[in-house]
């Protein structure tokens, strides 16, 4: 059914922006009510949000939404007044309401009435308040309650009509200011709260603010302003200006203010005596429903009309303190900026390379020095620019974390578990490019923790633990990475059980299981097709296994590790780079071609003699500081044609300089001078020398807490690269993370180490 709203499209945009803010606040804060219901600030914030939503939904004529928010507000009022303890059941009902708000909000977008019916929820909310002796001012069209009680009987639960639009909340007043305004109002002189919003692109905010204040002073007495006149003169201004003036009338004030250039919206409201009578508790307790309200009205709402209806109402402005130093920038523009910086990084690399080339070719020359200097300067500036842009793009991880309390709560209730969910470090910042992609892995880890990690309350009691389990989600910075930890104090992962399960599922053989150490056994959780729960619940068994979680994290150049102790709990650590836009990479050569390996996966680079390679259980490996490093050829992984070596029977005996050998060492420093060439550029070298004596370059990479050696033809060096997607035309080529343009203008392939190596590791792990 199509719906119509009493507002223009433009106004509805403003309405939506505001509604989203309030709904988000409710979403985030309502679940905290269960524990923190005595946190006055929390409750006041929730109450205000419901109240504002009620007002604005009534304003556009969304009756069902107004009715719902009204009922919610009453419940919050009862909580605020200490009459109602929000139990989990009550919070469940409120959360139904919050979900309903989202549906109603959507109706405003689509202009189509959804089939969401919240009559039951509204009735339940009413019932909750009535239980504790509260009353309702029924919304228009609702049957009046049998016995309407006045505010005297239930002074606070009933939304008393203060008729001030929460005016005292909109501009904080000092005590003496409040008294002065009150006295002036009582003396019969009108006092007005003037809110002025300037166009955000106004380049003359200070002067415009100054004009407003000057013009206001000319027609009325200026009692207070924010910013103050002094601040305005010091050019400390916001796009919003609030002023309290005495005298004149609403129309004249609005006209005066609106005649100033760059004023986008203004609003003039009267301070009424009633506002002070109930202050401060009633600051928000205002019913927007006009005279039809059943509740006794201390002051006729009609008095409100001149101000409330004749001046444009603008409510989207954020609180001034947030506006002060900030400019809103379109995300797309930031992305563009980042792309441009990326181009600059490429050119910087190129400049430096040209200078180097010239120096090599032409020797010392003043012009080359100058070029070098300029190149370095450009380099420095580019670095700084890049850092700044990166910083602008950084966002606190809060926006992601805020979704989770509800998720954990609902899940725990569904499973009959009791959970204390703690979030730490939500102010930790990281780049948009990463923020957008980390939801899913964290959600999965959290579900896993609630579902599989924590025991049922009786099990916990039997184990001597508190019935309420703890799940902690935390984030912190570590060098250029962010670490996100999901920790539970549940039963931990039993390696023996995991092994047994894996054998049963045919993932490994009993023989392999017997040889497997605990650490490797725990890693089985990441094996494809593995699920630890005896039965698949509808909670975490959504067809996505931990193997997918790991793969997704690794796609972001991150990795996940697991720590667990039987009976004590499990902790998953996810480590991700702060950005995905520009990364450091190791350039390696394969044949004449350069490939980039993201540094995030690189542990170290090594040089070995081919003779140091052992074959262990069919796989090549080298010994590194007493450990075995499995070895694979990047060439083979990428299915590049193999290098041509002479047939084995033609191999010469290894030259004597290698006979002394560097067994077990990292093989460095043993090479005769002639072999210091950069490697693969010189194919003849490889063709001519018997394989057993040639030098090998290995990049040790890390996936999770396992390492593997990638054999490459040559090591070229480290550089910063800008990741560009491989043309969509080529599709999603497995093993390739993207492309980048190098300093010399050539395109290099960025190797997707996780996807390439994972399979190999899995094979070797499980073989």
């Amino acid at each position: 059914m199509p719906m119509q709203f009493d507002a223009s499209e433009e106004d509805l945009k403003v309405w939506l922006a505001e509604a989203d803010e309030q709904i988000e606040l409710l979403q985030n804060d309502v679940i905290r009510l269960e524990k923190d219901y005595d946190d006055a600030q929390l409750v006041a914030g929730i109450f205000r949000a419901a109240h504002t939503l009620k007002g604005s939904s009534a304003m556009i004529g969304h009756a069902r939404m107004a009715e719902l928010t009204h009922a919610m507000e009453s419940v919050f009022g009862a909580v605020r007044d200490g009459k109602l303890k929000p139990t989990s059941d009550i919070v469940d009902v409120i959360l139904q309401g919050v979900d309903g708000l989202n549906a109603f909000r959507q109706e405003v977008v689509t202009k189509e009435q959804s089939d969401v019916d919240l009559t039951d929820t509204v009735n339940a909310l009413h019932h909750i308040v009535e239980e504790v002796g509260g009353t309702f001012a029924r919304m228009p069209g609702q049957p009046a309650p049998a016995a309407a009680e006045g505010p005297a009987a239930a002074p606070s639960a009933a939304p008393a009509v203060a008729g001030d639009g929460g005016i005292l909340a909109r501009l904080p007043l000092l005590d003496d200011e409040r008294e002065a305004i009150k006295a002036t109002v009582e003396a019969g002189i009108p006092v007005w709260l003037v809110e002025v919003n300037f166009k955000p692109d106004s380049e003359w905010l200070a002067v415009r603010s100054f004009q407003v204040l000057t013009d206001l002073s000319n027609i009325a007495e200026l009692l207070k302003s924010q910013p103050t006149a002094e601040e305005v003169e010091a050019e400390k201004v916001n796009v919003q200006l609030m002023a309290v003036v005495a005298g004149s009338d609403a129309d004249k004030i609005a006209q005066t203010v609106n005649s100033v250039e760059d004023v986008a919206l203004s609003r003039v409201d009267a301070y009424l005596a009633a506002a002070f009578a109930q202050a401060p508790a009633a600051e928000a307790a205002k019913d927007l429903v006009p005279a039809a309200s059943q509740a006794p009205v201390p002051e006729s709402p009609k008095q409100l009309e001149p101000s409330a209806t004749k001046t444009p109402v603008e409510v989207a402005a954020r609180p001034p303190e947030k506006m002060a130093q900030n400019v809103r920038v379109d995300v797309e523009r930031l992305d563009n900026l980042m792309n441009l910086v990326g181009e600059l990084v490429i050119d910087r690399n190129r400049l430096q390379q040209i200078a180097l080339q010239l120096e090599t070719d032409l020797g010392v020359h003043d012009a080359i020095d100058a070029l070098n200097e300029a190149a370095q300067h450009v380099g420095r500036i580019t670095d700084e620019l890049q850092e700044e842009v990166m910083r602008i793009r950084m966002q606190p991880i809060e926006s992601v974390f805020n979704k989770f309390p509800r998720l954990v709560r609902d899940l725990a209730r569904k499973l009959g578990k009791s959970v204390d969910f703690v979030i730490e470090g939500k102010e930790t910042e990281l780049d948009r490019s990463v923020i957008e992609k980390i939801d899913d892995p964290i959600i999965h880890l959290l579900r896993n923790a609630v579902d599989h990690g924590l025991e049922m309350p009786d099990e916990r009691r039997a184990a001597g633990k508190s019935e309420t389990g703890l799940i902690k989600l935390s984030a912190w910075h570590e060098e250029n990475h962010i670490v996100i930890a999901v920790q539970d104090d549940g039963h931990g992962i039993d390696p023996e059980k995991l092994k047994a399960s894996a054998v049963r599922k045919g993932i490994i053989t009993q023989e392999v299981a017997d040889r497997m150490d605990d650490r490797a056994a725990v890693e089985l959780i990441f094996a494809a097709g593995f699920s630890t729960a005896a039965k698949t619940t509808d909670v975490s068994g959504r067809g996505v296994g931990m193997d997918i979680v790991r793969a997704n994290i690794e796609k972001l150049s991150g990795f996940v590790t697991i720590e667990t102790a039987v009976g004590r709990g499990t902790r998953f650590l996810v480590k991700l780079p702060l950005t995905l836009a520009i990364i450091r990479a190791l350039l390696v050569g394969l044949g004449g071609q350069k490939f980039a390996i993201p540094m995030a996966t690189v542990v170290e680079t090594l040089r070995f003699e081919a003779q140091d390679v052992r074959t262990i259980k069919m796989h090549e490996a080298i010994q590194l500081r007493g450990r075995i490093l499995p070895l694979v050829s990047l060439r083979e992984l990428l299915r590049l044609p193999p290098l041509l070596y002479p047939a084995p029977e033609l191999l010469l005996p290894a030259p004597s300089d290698h006979a002394s050998g560097s067994n077990g060492s990292n093989g460095d420093g043993q090479e005769p001078e002639g072999d210091q060439s950069s490697g693969m550029e010189d194919m003849a070298f490889y063709l001519a020398r018997p394989r057993r004596s040639h030098k090998m370059f290995v990049v040790a990479v890390r996936l999770g807490d396992r390492q593997m050696g990638l054999q490459v033809d040559s090591l070229i060096g480290e550089t910063e690269i800008v990741i560009k997607p491989l043309s969509r035309f080529l599709g999603d080529v497995r093993g390739i993370a993207g492309v980048t343009i190098l300093g010399d203008g050539q395109v290099a392939i960025i190797v997707d180490i996780p996807s390439l190596v994972n399979r190999v590791m899995q094979e070797q792990l499980l073989a």
Binding site: R639, L726, F729, V733, V739, I741, G745, Q746, V747
Partner: protein
């Protein structure tokens, strides 16, 4: 009145004429963004054989296909006349390697005949028509067909070789896709 030399009567079309081996080919100029000299192309591992690789077009990385490979012709000998025709394909730029680019020709739309499989060396699915000039025969390519949807599917599926191509085409036909045969 000054005549715009590039203005073409509605009944005329402008063609970019290029060569692969001895054969002359043409593409509608409206689909061609630019023509660049053959430059360094970076091969992409595991890409299908007719994808030559990717190249840097002023900061954009675009894929390049070799039309010789695409049409199953023998590999090109090294030559300075080789060019990359950069075409717009569904909003994406794609480079096509050719042996040489000869000229831009304006022909009457009437001069374009329907494709005749017998006289050309290229699989008819890629043909939009034939232009007969006094001294030569020009094969007008259907750019869309050179990179048909099933082709893209093939690329995504990373199946390689003519057999896979045939499979995909067969599948496409089953799916009811309107492919010229």
């Amino acid at each position: 009145m000054i005549e715009d030399p590039t203005a073409v009567a509605p009944s005329e079309v402008q063609l970019v004429i290029f060569r692969l081996g001895e054969d002359f080919f043409a593409m509608l100029i409206s689909n061609v963004n630019e023509i660049i000299r053959l430059q360094k192309i970076t091969p992409v591992p595991k890409a299908p054989p007719f994808v030559e690789g990717v190249t840097n077009l002023r900061g954009r990385v675009i894929p390049v296909i070799d039309l010789r490979q695409r049409f199953g012709l023998p590999p090109r000998e090294e030559s300075t006349s080789a060019r990359i025709i950069v075409a717009d394909h569904e909003g994406k730029l794609i480079g096509m390697m050719v042996d040489r680019v000869d000229e831009v020709l304006t022909v009457s739309a009437d001069a374009i005949e329907p494709p005749d499989e017998m006289v050309v060396s290229v699989d008819s699915q890629f043909l939009a028509g034939i232009v007969r000039l006094e001294d030569r025969l020009i094969i007008l390519l259907d750019q869309e067909q050179v990179l048909t949807p099933s082709e893209i599917k093939l690329l995504h599926g990373m199946k390689v070789g003519a057999k896979a191509l045939k499979e995909v085409q067969a599948q496409a036909e089953e799916d009811g896709e309107d492919l010229p045969s």
